[in-house]
């Protein structure tokens, strides 16, 4: 166990010793700051509550966090292949599955750390610029007005789960195709076009859309007791989580199979 933690330590070192990682953090910290300054200079007399600011800024950051996590997931395996370091990595007294697991966990921790950073920064910056309100009247959501802490925490949790689902897909692609470019391209396409594909599929009027990955990436639609991402097919949070769970299991299984056996040429 202690030995496995050292694998994780290695993967973390390879993430945090790269300049790119800190550029990502610079975005997470810089965007809320720039937004606050912009709001204050444009509408100084009618500022939002700190919670409304947090909600708006977090919506922007959530997309970035998903993209950044996908980039790291894509790099996890494919990067070792493109650098050629995979050959030195795999000739150690470890099963390939352990090495893959350490990479997967490091990727999850990276996404979690970015999410925590975004939560903290948007909360602190919002409070610093707009003051703290216990019950914000300007939130769009019923629950958000009554219990902003609970609402935002749940909102972040749902966003994190969606990010993990897409990042797992990227991780699978990375392990199966060993190409970072292809992986990042396809995963970001899913992120950006997911909503559009969901709409197209619902136009077809086939309930099958309920079982695809795309709509369930919008878990936040269940907040405030909503019917979920597809209003014409009311679903429950449990159902969405189950669909995500099945996709997740398939992605992880494919990654494991693809990485575990094939020749490293």
């Amino acid at each position: 166990m202690a030995d496995f933690l050292r694998l994780l330590q290695n993967e973390n070192m390879k993430i945090y010793r790269r300049v790119g990682t800190w550029v990502m953090y610079a975005f997470i910290i810089g965007i809320p700051l720039v937004m606050s300054l912009a709001i204050i200079s444009v509408t100084p007399e009618d500022p939002p509550s700190n919670w409304l600011f947090m909600f708006i800024a977090s919506n922007i950051l959530a997309s970035l966090i998903a993209i950044f996590t996908v980039v790291k997931a894509a790099d996890a395996v494919a990067g070792e292949f493109s650098q050629g370091t995979i050959k030195l990595l795999l000739i150690r007294p470890w099963r390939r599955s352990s090495i893959l697991l350490s990479k997967f966990l490091a990727m999850l921790l990276f996404g979690l750390a970015l999410t925590a950073a975004a939560f903290t920064v948007t909360l602190v910056v919002g409070t610093a610029f707009f003051g703290y309100t216990a019950s914000p009247e300007d939130m769009f959501s019923e629950m958000g007005r009554k219990n902003p802490w609970g609402y935002m925490l749940l909102w972040y949790l749902y966003q994190f789960i969606s990010a993990v689902a897409v990042a797992s897909f990227a991780f699978m692609m990375s392990a199966a195709f060993r190409s970072g470019g292809l992986t990042i391209g396809l995963s970001i396409f899913i992120l950006l076009a997911g909503g559009l594909i969901t709409n197209l599929l619902s136009l077809l009027d086939k309930p099958i859309v309920k079982y695809t990955l795309f709509p369930h990436l919008q878990l936040t639609s269940y907040l405030d007791g909503g019917p979920g991402p597809l209003p014409q097919y009311p679903m429950t949070l449990g159902f969405s989580l189950a669909v995500l769970g099945v996709h997740f299991a398939v992605f992880v299984a494919v990654a494991w199979l693809a990485f575990g056996r094939r020749d490293v040429a």
Partner: protein, 307 residues
């Protein structure tokens, strides 16, 4: 030999897409031995090494390292191996030292002081805290050797390790590998397509051609060559055809490339020289044509179709 081999290849075969790339290779490397794996480009050296370290599956046959099968008991087998496969590709955005820490963490019981010791061994003290992307190929080779020996492996596998090294670096590596074999009893398996290098570095050499081992032989060292063994000797003499008649069959005299050549031991060479001088020929030089590995290599592979 009475010792058991560190690595044993048993009828190892690799087929990719119906093509046989490695064809029933069997060989053994013993503790304290530097074993050369010599073959032209594309003969299958890297493919064999990839199978030895578990990066590629083995189509049939098996590879045992310290008695453990690389396919069935991978962790037990590989923990005894240090290797560089093809180019020494390391994490370019990490420093040399961070790279060593990374690989040290993956094996049990490697202390910081062991890392420092290895850094000194490969002579990288002054540059070890620089990023690898700023290293020359020669320095990356050294760092590659460093990560391979960190855990004191019983078997060291190096794929064309002299690529990118200057003559001084090659000499240093050669001395280091011989010392490792002699003092720590490490079995060293080195591949190369350069005959001259293998000759200086190795105790035994396997010659690989189109995926098959065509010969395994001990490398003859000058110091070991017996006085009594006949050598091919060239006589630099005027009018070689006439001189040949004087020899009267002594030392299987013959004309090669317009020069007088014989196969004779030391005593016979002296006798031939005396005969020639007595018969009035001026002998300008006597040169032993040492049989290099290259000659042996050509001898073994001669007559086989190319391509």
């Amino acid at each position: 030999m009475t010792q058991s081999p560190v690595v044993r290849l048993q009828d190892v075969t690799k087929k990719i897409g119906g093509r046989t790339i490695i064809d029933r290779i069997s060989l053994e490397v013993y503790p304290g031995e530097v074993f050369g794996f010599l073959g032209p480009n594309g003969s299958g050296k890297t493919t064999t090494i990839r199978m030895m370290v578990g990066l590629m599956s083995i189509t049939s046959g098996d590879i045992l390292i310290g008695g453990h099968s690389i396919r069935k008991e991978f962790p037990q087998a590989i923990r005894q191996v240090g290797a560089i496969v093809e180019n020494p590709e390391l994490y370019r955005y990490l420093t040399g030292y961070q790279n060593l820490v990374h690989f040290a963490r993956m094996a049990p019981g490697i202390s910081r002081s062991r890392i420092d010791e290895v850094v000194r061994l490969v002579g990288m003290e002054s540059r070890i805290h620089d990023k690898v992307k700023r290293y020359s190929l020669g320095m990356r080779q050294r760092l590659g050797v460093a990560q391979a020996v960190l855990h004191r492996p019983r078997l060291l596998v190096l794929d064309e390790p002299t690529n990118g090294l200057d003559p001084a670096g090659i000499r240093e590596l050669r001395d280091y590998l011989r010392k490792l074999a002699r003092e720590e009893g490490t079995a060293v398996f080195v591949s190369s397509h350069l005959l001259s290098e293998m000759e200086l570095m190795c105790d035994r050499v396997a010659i690989l051609q189109k995926g098959r081992v065509v010969d395994i032989r001990a490398v003859r060292r000058d110091s070991e060559s017996s006085e009594a063994a006949p050598d091919d000797v060239w006589f630099d003499v005027e009018r070689p055809e006439e001189a040949l008649r004087v020899l009267d069959g002594l030392g299987k005299g013959r004309i090669e490339d317009g020069r007088l050549a014989v196969t004779a031991d030391r005593k016979t060479v002296a006798e031939i020289n005396r005969k020639l001088v007595e018969a009035g020929f001026s002998v300008y030089g006597i040169r032993v044509k040492t049989k290099t590995l290259e000659d042996q290599f050509l001898e073994v592979t001669r007559g086989e179709s190319v391509g």
